[in-house]
C-alpha cells in the first residue's frame, strides 16, 4: 500500500500486488491497509489466498461474512471471489483488477479459493483437525492438472511438451534439494551484518568477542545448551 502510494507519487505506471492468507484477514493491520488503499485510491490488488486453514483454524472461525471478498464492501472497493485452482480465471480477475488500478480507479480485493494440501509445517499434524476425505476431494482439483487439461484440450500442450516441463521441474527441485543439503553454515560474522547501516561500537565489540572465541577450541557440550535437558 505504501509502495503503491510511492509509485503513484513518482508518476510510475506500477500496480502493487499484495498477498494475504485467510488467517491474516482477521488481523487489524489487514483492515487498516484496505481502508488506506481505498481512501487514497491507490493502485493495489489485495489477493487473499484462502486455503481454508490458518494452521488448524478453519475459515468459518475467521469470519462470519459470506466470503472474505465481502470485506471489500465496507472499505468501498470491489471484492471478487475466484476459483484459485483455475489459473485462467485467476489471470482474468487479476488482470481486470490491474487495469482498474492502472486507470486510477483504486484498489481491488480478490479472494482466491484454494486448499493447503500439506500440513502447515513438518511439525504439524493435520489429521487432528481435518478429515482425509476433505484432502482427497481437493487433490482432485489440482490446479496444475487442470491447467494441463485446459491447454491440452485447446491444442496448446502435447504429451512431449508436458513431459519436458515435468522433467525440468523435477530437475529444478532436485537441484534445490541438493544445494540445500550441501549448504555450508554462514560465517558467524553474519550475525552482526545489516543490523544498522554501519555497526554500532557495541556491535563491533561483540563481533570481536565472537572472533576471539572462534579462534579458541571450544568444549562440545558448551555448544548445545538446548540439549542439557531438565533440571
Amino acid at each position: 500500500m505504501g509502495l503503491a502510494f510511492a509509485a503513484q507519487a513518482r508518476g510510475e505506471d506500477t500496480v502493487a500486488l499484495a498477498f494475504v492468507g485467510d488467517g491474516a484477514t482477521s488481523e487489524g493491520d489487514f483492515h487498516e491497509a484496505l481502508n488506506f488503499a481505498a481512501v487514497f485510491h491507490l493502485p493495489v490488488i489485495f489477493l487473499v489466498q484462502n486455503n481454508q486453514y490458518a494452521i488448524s483454524v478453519p475459515v468459518s472461525r475467521q469470519t462470519s461474512a459470506p466470503s472474505l471478498a465481502h470485506k471489500a464492501i465496507g472499505y468501498g472497493m470491489p471484492g471478487v471471489l475466484v476459483d484459485g485452482n483455475d489459473a485462467a480465471a485467476v489471470l482474468s480477475v487479476v488482470g481486470a483488477a490491474a487495469r482498474r488500478a492502472h486507470d486510477g480507479e483504486g484498489p481491488t480485493l480478490i479472494e482466491a479459493m484454494t486448499y493447503r494440501i500439506d500440513p502447515h509445517t513438518n511439525a504439524d499434524d493435520a489429521t487432528r483437525y481435518r478429515p482425509d476425505e476433505e484432502v482427497a476431494d481437493w487433490l482432485a482439483r489440482d490446479p496444475v492438472a487442470r491447467l494441463a487439461a485446459y491447454l491440452t484440450n485447446s491444442g496448446q500442450l502435447n504429451v512431449d511438451v508436458e513431459a519436458a516441463i515435468a522433467a525440468e521441474a523435477e530437475e529444478l527441485a532436485a537441484d534445490l534439494r541438493t544445494r540445500l543439503v550441501a549448504e555450508v553454515p554462514p560465517p558467524p560474522e553474519e550475525l552482526f551484518a545489516h543490523v544498522y547501516h554501519r555497526p554500532t561500537p557495541r556491535l563491533r565489540d561483540q563481533a570481536a568477542l565472537l572472533r576471539a572465541e572462534s579462534a579458541l577450541p571450544r568444549a562440545e557440550s558448551a555448544l548445545s545448551p538446548a540439549e542439557s535437558g531438565g533440571s
Binding site: 488448524s56 511439525a123 553454515p185 545448551p225 531438565g230
Partner: protein, 325 residues
Amino acid sequence: MAVSMAQAINQALADCLAEDERVLVFGEDVGTLGGVFRVTDGLAAKYGERRCFDTPLAESGIVGMAVGMAMHGMRPVVEMQFDAFAYPAFEQIVSHVAKMRNRTRGKVSLPMVIRVPYGGGIGGVEHHSDSSEAYYAHTPGLTVVAPATVADAYGLLRAAVAWPDPVIFLEPKRLYWSKDEVTLPAEVEPIGRAAIRRPGADATLVAYGPSVQVALAAAEAAVEEGWDLEVVDVRSIVPLDEETLIASVRKTGRAVVVAEAPGFASVAAEIAALLSERCFHALEAPVRRVTGFDIPYPSPKLEHHHLPDVERILDAVATLQWEDA
C-alpha cells in the same frame, strides 16, 4: 514420575479450569489442535468449547477480549503462540492491560494471564525465537514470570491464574520437552520469590527461564576450575526478589547475570545495576553480563553463536578478578 514442562503447564491449566468456572483458555490453535506445542492438548475436549477455544487470528483481539472478560469477572488465560506473535497485541497490553488498575484508581483490576512461549534454541526462524521480556518488564503494571523447571511451570502458572494483576507468563519453549521427576499437582509457588538452584561460595550466577539450565551446567563445569558457583533462578522478573539476589551476591562477592535477550537495556542490565548499587561494598569485581548479542534473532544455523553457553559464562567468571581475592 517423569513429567515434561508442556505436560505440567497442561495440568496446571486443566486444574484451573476444573476448580474455577471463571477460567477461560483461548488463543490461536489452542482448541481442536491442542496448541502448536500441544500445551493445551485435550482441554477443549474435556472442558468444552465454551471454556477452551480457538479464536480468529488476531492477537490484539485476543488480548482485547480478555480485557473485557477480566473486567467482568472472568479469569482469561490466553496464548500468544510465539513470542513475536504477541507484538500485534502490544497496544492492548501496554495501554490497557497494564494500566487499567492505575487508570481507574484501583477500581478495576484485570486478573488475567498472557502465556508467551518464548526464547530460542529450537531452530526457529524470525518471529519464533525472541526473548521479549524487557518490553513487558519495562511496562509498569505487568507482572512478569518465567519458570525454569517443570515444577515451577506448574506452580507459578497456578499462582499466576490466582494473581490479582495481569501476568505475562513466559514459557521457555526449548524446555517444553525437558522432563523432571515431579508429582502433579506440584506446590503452588509464590510469585516474587527467587530460588537458589545451587548453593555456592565463590560467585553468583543469576539467570531465569531457559538460561537457568545453562547456568547450572556452567556451575558444574566450574568445579573443575576450582570455582564454587551459586546459581539463583530469578523466576519472577516483576516483582523482582531483590532480597535473595542481594543476599547471594553479598555472600559470594561476585556476580554474572545470564540471559538470552540482547543485553542492551535488558532485564540483565537492570539486575546488574541493582547488584552494583546494593552490593557495592561486598563486590570483589564488577558485575558481568552474559547475554545474547544486540542483534535480531539469527537464523537456526547461527543461533548457537548468539545464545549464552557454558564457555561464555566461564569466560565471564574468569574475569572476576580472582587474583585480588
